[in-house]
């Protein structure tokens, strides 16, 4: 941390930067400052492997001169550092092109949620390092002691962050908030008959007391790695595919890419131009909600100073809304949905709040029980999802479903189809649990190609 600078001092620094940018010719300006205190502890085979602790800060500035935009950032928050940042952004604005859609949100769109979103907890900010290390040790130990086939480990880890965010713009917005984060994970390695596998489990919370117990984290990780042992490659075939919640979340990640405004105005999404159309089965309702207290996707305002809100994206299979920042909203002649997201560098892109799929009726077991021959996916690797065309092809690991039951482990196969077909034939289970900022229950895709032998 800089000597003498407290979080409370940062809004004033950002306000000054915005004022000075205007004095130098900017017609509009916005400044964001973020800070973080990072801690991480990794233990392996019962011993501390790494301990890391540090804090950092950075400021970013975006200026407009008419409809030209320039931006800059610095890790130097001294008056000289801020001056350089301003000069740099103003210079660059002279080199960009007039963009009729560039600009800050309207003053009437700015604001901050007044409810307490419970983003900050003293239980994280004030937690002694010993307790964090102890949690990581206990999680790993629980995994290692679970079964004799668990012979090795990539460790247990505890990570925490105490962050702060300040945002100021020239249309009168000043906002700031602090947030905390902590996570605990275990990564055991199991071996049997010459085959070695690893898997993991993790828990995240804004409050230390919101974490699952270290013993539970270790045990879940152990159960997950054990059920991978003895995996075989199956024959190539078309079958129903079930995504466990961790994998359903990856599918939501793909869908986010396809509904965010930049992809839409560029026609670079298979969902572009489909508002009001049926794009998924009736059981599919996808929501973005940045207003739920205590969750990871919640924040009082987005990275342009627009309050967070709840936006139904797909309702009962009908595409209702895209997720937009001010720029993409103007391109599409719509209103921002409060989804502007940026780091310190560059312009605002688009992020999500709590992006989740509403729960269905059946339990995961009931869904599996209805499948004679199918694939239950527990891990996906690779980047083989094309959200422009909808083509989907990824490496997969999981359990084969035979006669309604999880029968044997499978690996070194791929699952493929198109996102269009996958959504059209999807069935949702009832096990929705909020974990991180993307949440989804177990889901079943009617048919995909499993490629193997």
């Amino acid at each position: 941390m800089k000597p003498g600078l407290r979080f409370e001092d940062l809004p004033e620094i950002a306000q000054q930067a915005v004022r000075q940018a205007q004095e130098r010719g900017a017609t509009d300006a916005e400044c964001t400052i973020s800070e973080g205190q990072e801690f991480s502890a990794n233990v392996r085979m019962g011993e501390i492997e790494t301990l890391k602790e540090a804090g950092s800060r950075g400021a970013g500035l975006r200026v407009l001169i008419g409809r030209r935009m320039g931006s800059s950032y610095t890790s130097d928050l001294t008056p000289e550092g801020i001056q350089k940042m301003i000069a740099s952004a103003v210079d660059l604005a002279g080199l960009t092109t007039e963009d009729p859609h560039a600009g800050l949100p309207e003053a009437s769109e700015l604001g901050s949620l007044s409810v307490d979103l419970k983003l900050f907890s003293d239980t994280v900010a004030g937690l002694p390092a010993d307790q964090k290390i102890d949690a990581a040790k206990r999680a790993e130990a629980a995994a290692l002691s679970f079964d004799a086939r668990i012979t090795n480990s990539e460790g247990g880890a505890f990570d925490s962050n105490v962050g702060g965010r300040v945002f100021v713009n020239s249309r009168g917005f000043t906002g700031s908030y602090r947030s905390t984060y902590c996570s605990l994970s275990a990564v055991p390695v199991a071996a049997h008959d010459g085959q070695m596998e690893r898997d993991y489990w993790f828990t995240v919370a804004r409050d230390f007391n919101g974490l699952e117990s270290p013993e539970l984290v270790g045990r879940k990780a152990a159960e997950r790695v054990l059920r991978r042992l003895g995996a075989v490659k199956v024959e190539t075939q078309k079958v129903p595919v079930v995504f466990e919640p961790r994998m359903s979340r990856t599918l939501l990640g793909n869908l986010f890419e396809a509904v965010q405004g930049t992809a839409i105005y560029r026609h670079a999404s298979f969902l572009a131009g489909k508002i009001g159309e049926k794009v998924a089965s009736e059981s599919f309702t996808l929501i973005d909600d940045g207003t739920i207290p205590g969750l990871f996707g919640s924040q009082p305002f987005d990275d342009e100073g627009v309050p967070s809100r709840r936006t139904p994206v797909i309702e009962k299979g009908i595409l209702k809304n895209y997720l937009l920042n001010t720029y993409t909203a103007r391109k599409l002649e719509l209103k921002t949905t409060g989804n502007a997201s940026r780091g310190i560098t560059g312009n605002a892109g688009i992020g999500h709040g709590n992006f989740f799929l509403e729960a269905g009726e059946k339990t995961p077991d009931e869904i599996i029980a209805g499948i004679k021959n199918g694939f239950y996916v527990t891990e996906l690797i690779g980047s083989g999802v094309n959200t422009v065309t909808g083509d989907y092809s990824r490496g997969a690991v999981g359990l084969w479903i035979r006669d309604g039951e999880l029968a044997f482990p499978v690996s070194e196969v791929t699952i493929a189809g198109t996102l269009q077909d996958m959504l059209a034939g999807v069935e949702i289970a009832n096990d929705l649990e909020f974990r991180g900022s993307v949440s989804a229950p177990t889901l079943m895709i009617g048919e995909m190609t499993v490629a193997g032998r």
């Binding site: 800089k2 000597p3 392996r44 501390i48 492997e49 790494t50 301990l51 890391k52 602790e53 540090a54 950092s56 800060r57 950075g58 931006s71 950032y73 610095t74 890790s75 130097d76 740099s88 660059l92 604005a93 080199l95 960009t96 092109t97 007039e98 990539e154 390695v189 085959q195 070695m196 596998e197 690893r198 995996a231 190539t236 670079a268 298979f270 310190i344 560098t345 312009n347 891990e379 690797i381 690779g382 980047s383 083989g384 094309n386 422009v388 065309t389 083509d391 092809s393 990824r394 490496g395 690991v397 690996s411 196969v413 791929t414 699952i415 493929a416 190609t449 490629a451 193997g452 032998r453």
Partner: protein, 484 residues
């Protein structure tokens, strides 16, 4: 250049004495080893979309990371403020990993051997901004002109200039100036009726800006992105199941990066969690395969000043990079080491300790990974295949190092029918198992090519620039994740 003229000494007044004092502070609780990594990073980026220069950004970050090793334990702290009290504080925090009396013997810092693989005089980051904007605009114009079916073009130009200084408690002092530039072109094409298809091309490296005039022009990348998008308009469904796969030269070398490279990083092997652990001296690929990781490749075309994207004069732990043989005629020869792994296992340094920034702990990483050429003419390799898949471009890959399963996603591939390349197919993922997959390599072309300079490798949350390369290669059996 003497140390006193180096970036951190001249700009921030750092002296050897300061560095030695910080290292002593880091070892004040008895650690076995400590190092300091100073980093100054200036970045710029320009984005053109819809022929509008929509974004121009630049900025600077600066900081120092302090690491203390005690046995197999690592303590790490960093500061974005180079004032002596902040650096000392970071050193004290990192020192907490050890518990014991201070280490008394001090090794005086000595400058390591110096060389310059990328003697870039003016880095692109120091070039007039307007010139860089003009380059990006040329790519936009050329991509749009390539074919009337191209309807969207995005160009991203980005460069950076990094100054680093490494000082270690075993007496090593090294510093480097690392320029980097990169251009990417994304094109979207559509026919009247069908859905849009995308193409992507780009490249760069540790070059001066005139590399984009003399070696690879914006128009070259633009045409290539346009070509890929247009090709995909006629794509048919990819096959599903085991196929004969022929990889084209260049970027398909990502196979080596995923199938073997990561699995040979020493941290995983020291811990026994890699599918390659304990396999040195064993056959892990066909005898036709020799795989190299080489961080020393300079300008490899005549008249080119500069180095490849994955090249470094010194790694991020102060060691000179080198050419490392990973697999020789199919036999596993060695791992890629970082300081911690070579200390623990007694292995020689391989110059592979890398990190994303001063905020990150170094790890063993790849640099430029490629397979040596063989004897086959590329066309003979294709002719030999009655039915299979010819893959020429990839969108990336991933590996589970423990079971060895890896994937890489083909973004441009074609059916091979009766020894001829025929129709383009849709994107598909290829999957294999590291120590097994390369045993099926049955032909290796004489056309080794390195990629254009666009690779980013992610590991445990840290991204670093890398290169790959491969000649045309025939793999007799690999699972293709299509739908047909």
């Amino acid at each position: 250049m003497a140390f006193t003229d180096s970036f951190f000494a001249s700009k921030f007044g750092l002296t050897r004495h300061d560095l030695e004092n910080y290292l002593s502070e880091a070892l004040s609780r008895g650690g076995d080893y400590a190092d300091l990594y100073f980093e100054y990073l200036a970045t710029s980026s320009i984005s053109i979309d819809e022929s509008i220069v929509k974004s121009a950004t630049q900025g600077v970050s600066l900081g120092v990371g302090v690491r203390v090793i005690s046995g197999e334990r690592t303590g790490y702290a960093y500061s974005d403020d180079l004032s002596p009290e902040k650096i000392r504080h970071a050193a004290q925090v990192a020192a907490m990993i050890a518990a014991g009396p201070a280490k008394v013997e001090k090794t005086p810092l000595e400058e390591g051997p110096r060389r310059n693989l990328y003697p870039v005089i003016t880095s692109p980051n120091e070039t007039e901004f307007r010139k860089r904007v003009a380059l990006a605009q040329r790519a936009d114009i050329a991509a749009r002109a390539y074919d009337p079916r191209i309807f969207q073009v995005q160009v991203v130009y980005a460069d950076n200039l990094r100054h680093v200084l490494v000082a270690t408690s075993d007496g090593m002092l090294n510093y480097d100036r690392q320029p980097m530039t990169r251009m990417s072109v994304f094109a979207l094409a559509r026919d009247k009726s069908g859905p849009p298809q995308q193409g992507h091309a780009g490249g760069g490296g540790r070059y001066e800006l005139d590399w984009f005039e003399n070696v690879r022009t914006p128009e070259y990348f633009a045409r290539e992105a346009g070509r890929q998008a247009i090709v995909q308009l006629d794509a048919v469904d990819a096959p599903a199941g085991e196929q004969v796969v022929v990889l084209g030269p260049g970027w398909p070398g990502v196979l080596l990066h995923e199938a073997v490279g990561h699995g040979l990083e020493a941290d995983f092997n020291r811990k026994g969690v890699s599918a390659f652990s304990g396999r040195i001296g064993q056959q892990v690929a066909s005898p036709l395969c020799t795989v190299i990781d080489d961080g020393t490749i300079g300008g490899d075309q005549p008249g080119v000043t500069g180095g490849r994207r994955g090249s470094l004069n010194v790694d991020d732990e102060g060691n000179q990079t080198q050419r490392n043989v990973l697999i020789e005629n199919g036999i596993l020869r060695g791992y890629l080491q970082d300081k911690l792994s070579s200390r623990v296992t007694g292995a020689h340094a391989t110059g592979s300790g890398r990190r994303e920034s001063y905020e990150h702990i170094p790890m063993p990483r790849m640099t430029n990974t490629f397979m040596l050429p063989g004897d086959n003419e590329p066309e003979d390799v294709i002719k030999s295949v009655p039915k299979g898949l010819y893959c020429v471009n990839f969108a990336g890959g991933q590996v589970d190092i423990t079971n060895g399963n890896f994937v890489f996603s083909a973004s441009e591939s074609y059916l091979i029918e009766n020894g001829k390349v025929t129709r383009p197919v849709r994107n598909a993922t290829l999957i294999g198992n590291g120590p097994e997959a390369m045993k099926y390599v049955s032909m290796v072309g004489n056309d080794l090519k390195l990629d254009e300079g666009i690779g980013i490798c992610g590991k445990e949350g840290q991204s670093v620039p890398v290169g790959v390369g491969i000649p045309t290669v025939r793999i007799d059996r690999m699972t293709v994740g299509g739908t047909a």
